[in-house]
Symmetry: C5
């Protein structure tokens, strides 16, 4: 089951462009963490005073400022001021019903992606993550605590992989890559759901609620599709614009993400076709069951209605019914009925109804 569409769009209507309005569901305390590193050095700390954020704009080292809690509008605005972000960008960051997109500005690149995961009720949650890539920093904005970036943190801390030797564009790549990696889990879970539904349908006695489940799975697939498909275009754009913040060496890595997204997208489209097929399968299952019911009825009725008729005949009260007088009539009649009965059974056998 997917979450029901909430009325988050409503807040948007009639609002002045450039006004910051948080449209998400989750609220949390503002939590800012920073990583500042180069090949030889790494500093990780929690930023308590919003003014300290500005500091990292000046360092030579690569800085990653991760901001959680988009409901804290004022603080977000201050950060935006410190880094000179365009008002439309700030608006997009806090409007969590944004479509994944990329916007190029003088001096920085703005990217919105969707982090997808199943929550504990098995509902797909789509959380918006925005990135700002500057010459020596990456800002990331998340709706609330809890993310998929732990492996990136570990690599920075432990100097694993090449992350410590490369610039903020590689960091951006690593972060987006983490998000895309988690799409595979969504794909995984969906695939399992479809297989479960198939198995249930093949089991031959599907419950009626399955149509609701299929319709809900359709909705889920369509929503995930909407969240993932625009990413292709975004990564493609990163490759093509030759933005000075993206080094040529890093392009190969983005190309790798692109391949992953295409793969995920292809799977989603396959799932879509499979799900549409499920409805047909359910339909045939119902029809098969109806067929079975009808066969039982037909067999019983076809055998016993004629026999009952015969019995009815000899229950008539005519004065002159010669057969009634004959001594063995009754037994002969039983014989005839038995023959009829067996004949019918053979007939149904031959028709493969039994």
């Amino acid at each position: 089951m997917t979450k029901k569409r909430t009325t988050k769009y409503k807040k948007h209507v009639g609002q002045i462009p450039g006004t910051l309005v948080y449209t998400g569901d989750k609220t949390s305390k503002l939590f800012i963490e920073s990583f500042d590193y180069n090949t030889n050095y790494v500093e990780e700390k929690e930023i308590k005073h919003i003014e300290d954020v500005a500091h990292y704009k000046l360092t030579d080292s690569v800085s990653w400022i991760n901001i959680n809690g988009l409901n804290n509008i004022n603080e977000i605005e201050k950060i935006g001021d410190h880094y000179g972000l365009h008002p439309l960008i700030l608006e997009d960051i806090v409007n969590t019903s944004q479509r994944p997109k990329i916007d190029e500005y003088e001096g920085y690149l703005f990217i919105v992606v969707k982090m997808l995961y199943y929550d504990k009720d098995d509902l797909i949650v789509s959380e918006q993550v925005s990135f700002v890539l500057g010459s020596n920093y990456v800002l990331s904005f998340q709706e609330a605590d809890g993310d998929v970036f732990d492996s990136v943190r570990d690599r920075i801390r432990a100097k694993k992989g090449r992350i410590r030797n490369l610039g903020p564009d590689y960091l951006l790549y690593a972060l987006i890559d983490s998000v895309v990696d988690h799409y595979y889990e969504i794909i995984e879970t969906m695939g399992n759901k479809i297989e479960e539904l198939e198995d249930h349908l093949f089991g031959g006695n599907p419950k009626e609620e399955i149509t609701a489940e299929i319709q809900s799975l359709k909705r889920e697939v369509l929503r995930v599709r909407k969240a993932i498909f625009p990413l292709r275009e975004i990564i493609n754009r990163i490759e093509k614009i030759e933005h000075k913040l993206i080094h040529k060496k890093t392009i190969h890595f983005f190309r790798d993400i692109y391949d992953h997204i295409v793969q995920v997208s292809e799977n989603i489209d396959i799932y879509r076709e499979m799900i549409w097929g499920l409805m047909d399968m359910y339909m045939t299952t119902i029809s098969n069951k109806m067929n079975e019911v009808m066969k039982v009825l037909t067999i019983i009725a076809t055998i016993f209605i004629p026999l009952t008729f015969i019995a009815g005949i000899y229950g008539m009260n005519f004065n002159n019914m010669p057969e009634l007088q004959y001594k063995y009539s009754y037994f002969i009649l039983w014989g005839i009925m038995l023959i009829l009965f067996i004949g019918m059974l053979f007939y149904f056998k031959r028709k493969k109804w039994l």
Copy 2:
């Protein structure tokens, strides 16, 4: 339910190109309001004499002339003359069955969009709004009173946002943005309708009229699609043509509208698939109900037809039927029938029909 297609096209056939014919349904008194402003100054008034309109073509300040009541053909024509509009444009303004479009002319830009809202009967109303963007003015033409521009008026009056500091291209953006913002409400309402239909279908006992409602919802989605989809191309064009009336700084804002339209369009396409699915769901619901009816019939018939046959046997009038004479025959027969009855029940239980 959507409004039935009226015969508005008819008026068009055989007409001389360039002739003004109003093809809308609504008629209203001509009502013209004007906003004239710059950063420090704002003047808002109702224009009573059609000649006063020409005045705003000359001012240095930004002017917004909002004309309501397209059925007043002559007055519209005069305004067109004052602003030097091409006859085809005037024709398009009053022909309200126009497709959303953009036309570039020397000295001005002409844009047609569709304002969508649900009226009090829950029918989607599509009202045509045309904009003419000149070097220092925006003309807007509406079929009748009542629109979605109140937030723009407030911002101009109150100097909220950046509207008072920027040119007519930003004003145009603000107006189109208001129109697009209202599409979200349409999306909202449609989403709710689909969910209601789904709930009704899942309830298990859908009424027959639901097919009419589904078909009508399909029609609604297709109509909204038709009104919204061309806008993508229009905004895209605004970005690409680099018209001298659209400043580079404003492009970012139009890009924002573009994102919104794409988002609305994606939702519409998802709704479309969901609605198509509803018909399948209804079909399976009917089949399920039929299955249930058939099961009741089969159970009753399968149990009682054989028993009736047995009773028929012992209602026959043969002279020689030994069982009839035996004292406990009747009670034994009851026993046999009872066993048969229970056996049948078990059989159906095992088949999961009970």
Copy 3:
């Protein structure tokens, strides 16, 4: 109902390219009318002698030669000679199974469009009209008498609109515009047909022939689509090729036709989806009716089969059936049956089958 496909293609096979073979159904006497005009002057006459046609190639004024009756192959060929038309063009003019198209030649432009209308049997008739645009003339070729150009004739005669002040390219525009205007009537009629079918289906008791009507409407939509869609490309081409015979000023008018065709095309595609939906609706209607039939059967059978069984029991002839002797047995049995009967009714009531 659409007309059945005739075997018009047959005549084409194995024919030498460049040979003139008329493939239409209609035959009529050759009828040629000419309009020769400029701003101050207009001459309208019927041309009796085929040689007089050549005269208009030389005049300074704008000439429109309208030729009806394509079955007069020889005359058509002579006209072609007078105006120096390529043999392939002549072949296309008389081969009325042509696809709408545009061909550019040195000195003239060749355009084929389809005139669509409903004949008196409510069948869609598609008549081919070919235009040749030269530097000072427009030739139009029609299969037979009767066309949609009366409004153009009136405008030329009455000096209405701008037609008398502009060149042959505007005349071409006016003629094509007349053809496209009539597409709206087709759209209109189709829309009405679909609504009628819908109303008939919603009426709940559709007749069986409706599938034939739906299939036939599908075929109609597909045929109209085939006739109209290529026009988009044609008009687009006119805009793009910058042919010296099409003046820049006229391009805006062709753009207007383009908008109309797109609008018509969009409607056709919507109709297509609606018609596909009709079949589903019919299917559910049938299923609903079947459900109703089955319910009646099940109710009657479920009530009376058990009662008949009871009656059967007391029709048995066992010697020892104590109940038979008891004085009020019969009346008690009636009571039991009545209770059973009412119980059943309640049961069906609760199941919403009554």
Copy 4:
């Protein structure tokens, strides 16, 4: 019915590229005919010795060498050597499961098309024809005797049309045109088949095998589509590449073929949709028939089951059943039954079941 897919692909697997392997079904004696002509002169003869083929490469006149019997691998290879054809071309010529295609080489153009016709069992046969266009010759390779080129032969012999005055590129056009012309016959026949199926379905009592016929027609349409669609791209390419062997004057003629192919393709796509619709129609027909069957059952059962119950009542053997003694009971009962019977009939009449 289409021919069943044979296992012709098998031979291809694991074969060395450039090896000649004939993959067709038909075998025939090698038969080579040659036409050598210019405006004033024509020579037609059968070539018996494979070496004579080389002769025509040198003449000034236009030569058409038509080779039948692709199973004669060695001879084909020799011809290829004489004309200096690339090994891949020779491989494609004899591999008859080729897709229609065009390949440009230094000094010649290679084109593969599919000749389609219905054989005597009403199966579509697809025969591959390959053309090599050189500076003064056209080679054509066919699987076996019998083709669609007789009209071209006649025109060469009789100096009809412009064929004798133009070069080998026009000859190539004429040959391809003959192939495309025959597609119209396929279209014709398919259209008739669809109409027959429709008529059969509308007849109301379709036989079960019709699903097999529909599925087979689907397969046929898809196969024809596969054979025809690539031709569009091929002709398009001929127009665009501006190959020095194709003269500008001939382009117009190829454009004509293009129009024909588009027209054929559009028809095929319409047929496709119609055929898909047939399955739905069949489905509704079955459902309608089922409805009718169920109505008959329901009417009979609903009328007679209650009556039988009443008769059963008075067949009971209770001692005390007052009605039995009354003199006119029997006749009154008949009256009641008659009233019930007529009432039922009215009920069904009102329900429109009768």
Copy 5:
């Protein structure tokens, strides 16, 4: 039946980019074979020591190093080091859930394709094969032993075809060609499966499991599609990029592969439509069977229920039933019943139910 999707993606999530993780199912001992050849010379041997691999990077002759057993991560990494391969390439080589792709690097070209075959359980197995094309070598990486390259080996050994005379780009072509050739077998087998299912369906008594088989076949087609379609783009790219490692002469051969892939793809798309049609056919088959069942029931019930009613009438015990006394009543009644019976049969005959 296709193999169930395994959870191979899981291993990928949260992994450092550039880390080698083998994601395939098969494990096998590392097996490396090398072919080193030029026109006059060929050397074939198994490489036991991983260091010997480096040797072939330096030779003048063409070398093909075929590495089997991707689970031997360390060895793969060493080979990568010897040949200077980018870490991302090594990661892609061992991540067997890769999408077919091409990556251009300085000095070499990297291509991933999918080898498809049916295993002994009739499941489609998709094995990843990666190629690295250098200036004088081709590296091929396979998951495990057993491949489709035997014909290439034979040609190298036996100096068959042109392989020994051409460079490594031709070798690459030959290897990819072998892979694509085997797609025809997949196509073959699928085609046969579809025909079997069709025959089974046309047989009239399909078993219920057929829906599972159809759904599984759908899945198979979609998977094969996913494996094959990207190849088109890859080969296209090879033609377009004009990489210095691909000689102009070899392009023609790649074009040939392209044609094959398009052909395979077209077949797959046709199969897809056919399979979708199968489900409809199954549905109609079920409905037909239901119809037949219902007819039997209706015929029996319609004949015998009225007759039973008549018998019931004369089983009533009214004192005054004149018919009962008349001597020939019984026989007359038999006559009447017989007439009714025969009349019914005629009725059903006329309705074509018998």
